[in-house]
Symmetry: C2
Subunit: 197 residues, 2 copies
């Protein structure tokens, strides 16, 4: 397919690399951008460049940040005796949005997945072990799928013998869901993890 402009073709090609963006959507974005002022397109391009130039990983928790240590690790309002272990930096965002958790985080950078060749050495587990001084509890908030569960079990077997309390976020039926349409594994977990009034 030959377009009337190589620049348009190139922009479509680059945009369609983004997750969930196909050629048609990329084309729509390009035509939208062509109608915007030069200033607005510059702002978008600059914001993308700044992502790479400004955003780094915190060397303590490996969350994304612009300062090292990050705002959470350097805050004196956070409970330093609890670490919540997550797979990716966006999980930190999701948990922070709840406003419920006031402890620290640790971003593993993925989950154990032997089939994809991801073993313990590919995750930031060693770095987690180095942070255990003064920590009373580790909440494992990896995803509730096979890889996430395997990682949670691995971490608990590794760290529990060191005398640190290991907990796992509750799995159960999501708020607003229908019992009828909930899969049996989730339902079994919901009964298993029932709480007393």
């Amino acid at each position: 397919m030959k377009y009337s402009s190589d620049a348009v073709e190139k922009a479509i090609h680059e945009l369609s690399k983004l997750p969930g963006i196909g050629r048609k959507t990329a084309q729509r974005h390009v035509f939208y951008l062509l109608k915007q002022t030069e200033h607005e397109v510059h702002q978008l391009a600059e914001a993308l460049l700044e992502l790479k130039s400004k955003v780094i990983h915190c060397h303590t928790c490996f969350n994304i940040t612009e300062t090292d240590p990050c705002r959470i690790c350097s805050s004196d309002k956070r409970d330093r005796s609890i670490i919540c272990v997550v797979e990716e930096a966006n999980d930190v965002l999701a948990l922070e949005k709840t406003g419920e958790y006031r402890g620290l985080y640790h971003v593993l950078g993925g989950a154990l997945s032997p089939l994809d060749g991801i073993g313990p050495d590919d995750l930031r587990i060693k770095e987690l072990l180095n942070r255990l001084d003064g920590v009373n509890e580790i909440i494992v908030a990896t995803n509730p799928n096979t890889e996430g569960e395997a990682t949670a079990i691995y971490l608990s077997k590794l760290i529990k013998p060191m005398g640190v309390k290991m907990t796992r976020i509750a799995r159960g039926i999501p708020v607003g869901a229908d019992l009828e349409y909930t899969d049996e594994i989730t339902l079994a977990r919901a009964i298993e993890g029932r709480l007393e009034y």
Copy 2:
């Protein structure tokens, strides 16, 4: 909501301006980009900047182009006696993809829409009238909605008296569709525009 990085927040804000991209999708894109190499993000940003610096409008047909006149207007393989009138530059792309049409184009830059304050002077109608020399037929390929139809009727009333054949692209049931689920107006148009074997 306070994110851990202003650069991340800014990139999410800028990306969510794109059509059909909400905050969640923008966030997903940002985390994807953070995992890419600096080179790849640079390529995307540059492609977007090039869009504004290189892409111009052809002064004959007002299609997007990098050369003026555009490749279609300057090609000696196109039939210069037919002009296909479309609303936007992306309509040219859609028609070119069919490989069926070998004439020239004219991009109006929209359709008549009194409710939105878009009258004949806001479209490139005067520029179309200046191109009628040596033209035998004008195919009106505006969208088959109220504004597109109004524009088509306006153009036909304006240009037909000048002795140019005015045609409208066929409206009917799309290939692969079901008669049962086709709306009555489309079906009426399909019967009206029936062709003899």
